[in-house]
């Protein structure tokens, strides 16, 4: 629940950013700011997974050099799209394209760009991925990167296959639980919504779900994917933390952002175990961190985030992809993580309305 950061913490962060900026100016180090004339302060509401990025002193320094100070509040992407009062914000920066699309419709904003993106991945463990491979649901590509065959996985789930039933379970991983990816609570978390989007694509025969008939056809199994997990956490760092701290017995497979896995590897004290494996679901879904400029000044921020060499390198340090992802691949390799350089098998998420309808239907099945 750490990412359910209340408004109070967001305010703290704003204070911290502002204070640092004042300090910079006082110390005279902000000569770039002086050269650029007045400092422009931009206020934004962002998905909480980018909070660490904007709080990073190196990021604040790089923005200051360009004459920008950024203040952020955090909220869930679904909330930003529907509930958050956007008056007084210069930009919104949710973690999904459908949410951004909805914001643009709501506000009439036309400047929409996706400076960062991060594919959904499955964080798993060596024995678990080996077991899936032996049973035809996982494979390693020529670069040694693991892939999870989402269709084969969904077949296992539909048949109620348990780990202990699989060929090789005795030596590798003999859990009595059904094969199932752990995710966050789809009612509150974008990463779970992206998982739902990918599964819906596969269950719909490899295409975006649009019609009501298609929605009804995929819903029973989508619902099962979330309900069968039992209690699930509200935000995306919680199951990933469990994965890091509790190991394969508790969390064999967890849906995560690639940025979480790479960001963890790049930390000074990484908690990734020796058997930690990053696998890409085929198809994956890209979570496009999409900036909606509500004020013309914010367009420059979007451009800098996408193109400034210092900022794109820092984004990669935090695990985000910019452009073609080559910066991330380089940084990840430095920390011993092999990422898939170019993603070829990517499912498009459904429209915001269809995604919301699917989530609402799954939420209704949660009941009391």
């Amino acid at each position: 629940m750490r990412k359910l950061v209340g408004a109070a913490l967001a305010v703290l962060l704003v204070v911290a950013v502002a204070a640092l900026f004042v300090l910079d100016r006082r110390s005279g180090s902000a000569d770039a700011a002086a050269g650029a004339g007045a400092v422009t302060t931009l206020r934004g509401v962002i998905g909480s997974e980018k909070e660490d990025f904007f709080a990073d002193p190196r990021v604040r320094g790089a923005l200051a050099e360009q004459g920008l100070a950024v203040e952020v509040d955090t909220a869930g992407s679904r909330q930003i799209a529907t509930d958050v009062d956007l008056d007084g914000y210069d930009f919104a920066f949710p973690s999904s394209a459908p949410a951004a699309q909805r914001i643009a419709e709501r506000t009439g904003a036309t400047e929409v760009s996706s400076p960062f993106w991060s594919p959904m991945v499955v964080a798993t463990h060596e024995p678990v991925v080996q077991l899936l491979a032996r049973n035809g649901a996982a494979s390693q590509d020529a670069d040694g990167v693991w892939h999870l065959d989402l269709a084969a996985y969904l077949r296992m789930v539909r048949e109620g296959v348990r780990w202990e039933d699989l060929e090789g379970a005795r030596e590798l991983y003999g859990s009595p639980r059904a094969v199932l990816i752990t995710s966050t609570d789809v009612r509150t978390s974008n990463s779970a919504a992206m998982y739902l989007a990918g599964a819906a694509w596969v269950l719909n025969g490899g295409g975006v779900v649009t019609t009501r008939e298609q929605q009804e056809a995929v819903l029973p199994q989508l619902t099962h994917l979330f309900l069968a997990q039992g209690f699930s956490a509200a935000s995306s760092d919680e199951p990933f933390d469990d994965y890091l701290s509790q190991g394969a017995g508790a969390v064999p497979l967890v849906m995560a952002y690639e940025a979480q896995f790479v960001g963890e590897a790049a930390r000074g004290t990484s908690r990734l175990g020796a058997d930690a494996v990053l696998a890409y679901p085929d198809p994956t879904v890209a979570s496009k961190h999409t900036l909606v400029a509500l004020d013309p000044g914010a367009e420059r921020l979007a451009e800098l985030l996408a193109t400034d060499p210092e900022l794109t390198a820092l984004a990669a340090e935090h695990g985000f992809r910019t452009g073609d992802g080559s910066v991330l691949a380089r940084i990840a390799a430095q920390h011993g993580v092999g990422v898939q350089r170019s993603l070829t098998d990517v499912a498009d998420p459904p429209s915001f309305e269809v995604l919301e309808a699917l989530i609402d239907a799954v939420a209704a099945a949660h009941g009391g």
């Binding site: 950061v5 997990q229 509200a234």
Partner: protein
């Protein structure tokens, strides 16, 4: 609902001796005003258990009672961070309810074995700002070595089905806390039900009926029950011969011994639930407390402190018992209705039924408000459901089908006696008769506690001798000192004679409700003699104390 500010007199005294120390763990949260506990540790309405106002150098934490043993670690945290962590201990189930109800505003954070339960309650998720898992400990079965060898479990963990078989045929006789009152008992029951359902996924409401038969066989081995882990361990340590196994968190079981040897601690091979001990910042905490929380979390997660925590028997990133790969984690129910159905089935049709001998003092001093409170407290135990949502702990603690409720009403003599069997075919009718009895109570006469206690024990022993497969206990309520009849020494001598005669009196604990001018020392001695517990009841808190005692029956 009733107040929740209650705990054993003995526990209070123990807490009082350490409460003033750095990072002392005081007992008992206070809910709202006028609910302050009146036990010796807190001294009436100016209770120190009601935390003082927020301070930047103090983190006020409502904590599970299992966390007492980490206090030495917290002393080090205080030295390094300048933040004193003030633990107020309570049961997890009770604490979660307090937080969800918005009654925990005097605390900055909580530290329970798990937040799963909290998240199912209305208002639970919203009360939490953020949380960080500090360490973990799975629900496990600690078995006396000789028994583990006999069962073939010395070198390998059994499945839940094997545990059920051993409990059913009498080879496994275990202690377990009440799933309604205590988190470890609750987690044990959910683990067993989920694994036995055999679905490989989360327990659903419709699975409860399907596993009830298996759970009943498991319950046949349930010989020792308790409302709290502390009491369970105390009883086990006092007399480890009674049972040969305990269910509880691994960290609690590891230090225990039976037959001179450490318990063999097993996690069932088809899965269990793990306590993750999330230190949880409440949304109501101020900015200074948030910073204090962050400092404490960072220190607790640092490598040296994680090693210290591992030394308490918890699992951490730096060690602790075995690797984490040997435990398969079961899913926790995501619907409150499932939890409710499971607990309800446990209470009314799965657990061993109880015989309760209510021994109530209606001497002259009970006249007026006191009698009204007693009648309200007894009546509360006859309401089978707390409300449409039926919060855990309310309806579930009412008298249950299959139970026998005996009553001994006394002053200077026994005024009335009787038994109401709660009929599974007509529980409402049975409960109405208990209410009628409560309404009929009249205050008059002196106080002959020990005479009444003997009458109560004769009733209890008659049941215990005829039906050894029931939990039999005495609940003694008194508001004054003994003025008539036999003395405490007489009772002690009589008790000794029953033991010598081989009657099963040691299996019948007495739980004392110490009210008004009752003598807490003498009542604590009665509790200690019989293997029970004494509970201090403050004004307005009586119903809560009777409910708490239900967890021990």
């Amino acid at each position: 609902m009733g107040g929740t500010t209650r705990r054993g007199v003995l526990t209070c005294l123990a807490a009082a001796s350490t409460g003033a120390l750095l990072a002392g763990c005081t007992s008992g949260p206070a809910r709202g005003s006028g609910q302050a506990p009146a036990g010796p540790a807190t001294g009436g309405s100016a209770a120190p258990a009601v935390p003082a106002g927020p301070r930047a150098d103090v983190l006020r934490v409502l904590a599970g009672s299992e966390l007492r043993d980490v206090e030495p670690v917290l002393a080090g945290v205080a030295e390094r961070t300048g933040v004193r962590v003030e633990l107020t201990c309570t049961g997890t189930v009770e604490g979660a309810q307090l937080v969800a109800d918005g009654g925990a505003t005097g605390y900055d954070a909580t530290w329970f074995p798990s937040n799963d339960h909290l998240a199912l309650l209305d208002g639970g998720r919203a009360a939490v700002a953020r949380s960080e898992d500090v360490m973990s400990s799975p629900v496990a079965l600690g078995v006396a070595r000789a028994t583990a060898v006999e069962l073939g479990w010395a070198g390998r963990s059994p499945t839940w089905a094997e545990v059920v078989d051993a409990a059913d045929d009498g080879r496994l006789r275990y202690g377990m806390t009440s799933p309604v009152s205590s988190n470890s008992g609750f987690a044990t029951l959910v683990s067993a039900a989920t694994a036995l359902s055999g679905t490989g996924t989360v327990l659903a409401e419709e699975d409860v009926a399907a596993v009830a038969g298996q759970l009943r066989r498991l319950a046949r081995g349930h010989e020792l029950t308790a409302g709290s882990t502390g009491f369970l361990v105390e009883r086990f340590t006092a007399d480890p011969a009674d049972v040969n196994a305990l269910f509880g968190y691994e960290s609690v079981l590891r230090p225990l011994r039976a037959g001179g040897e450490p318990l063999v601690v097993l996690t069932p091979s088809d899965g269990t639930l793990t306590a993750e001990y999330p230190l949880t910042l409440l949304r109501s905490a101020g900015e200074e407390q948030q910073r204090a929380y962050d400092a404490v979390v960072a220190d607790l997660l640092s490598e040296p402190v994680q090693r210290e925590l591992a030394a308490t028997g918890r699992r951490t990133g730096t060690g602790g018992p075995a690797g984490s790969g040997d435990v398969y984690e079961l899913p926790f129910p995501n619907r409150r209705s499932t939890v409710r159905a499971l607990l309800s089935a446990w209470q009314s049709e799965i657990k061993k039924p109880s015989d309760v001998v209510l021994t109530v003092d209606t001497s002259g001093s009970m006249e007026g408000e006191r009698l009204v409170q007693l009648q309200a407290a007894l009546t509360a135990l006859t309401v089978p459901d707390g409300g449409p949502d039926g919060t855990a702990g309310e309806g579930l603690l009412a008298f249950q089908p299959r139970e026998n409720v005996h009553h001994v009403e006394f002053a200077d003599t026994v005024k009335s006696r009787g038994t109401t069997a709660v009929d599974p075919a007509d529980p409402a009718g049975s409960l109405a008769r208990i209410r009628e009895w409560a309404a009929s109570l009249r205050a008059e006469g002196g106080t002959a506690i020990h005479d009444a206690l003997r009458v109560a024990y004769e009733q209890a022993l008659a049941v215990a001798e005829a039906a050894p497969d029931r939990f039999v206990s005495v609940t003694l309520f008194t508001d004054g000192e003994n003025t008539d009849g036999s003395t405490a020494a007489d009772f002690r001598a009589w008790y000794g004679q029953q033991v010598a005669a081989g009657r099963p009196i040691t299996s019948v604990p007495t739980f004392v409700v110490v009210f008004g001018e009752a003598d807490p020392t003498e009542m604590a001695q009665v509790a200690a003699l019989t293997g029970g517990e004494a509970f201090a009841a403050g004004a307005g808190d009586l119903a809560g104390v009777f409910e708490e005692i239900r967890g021990y029956q």
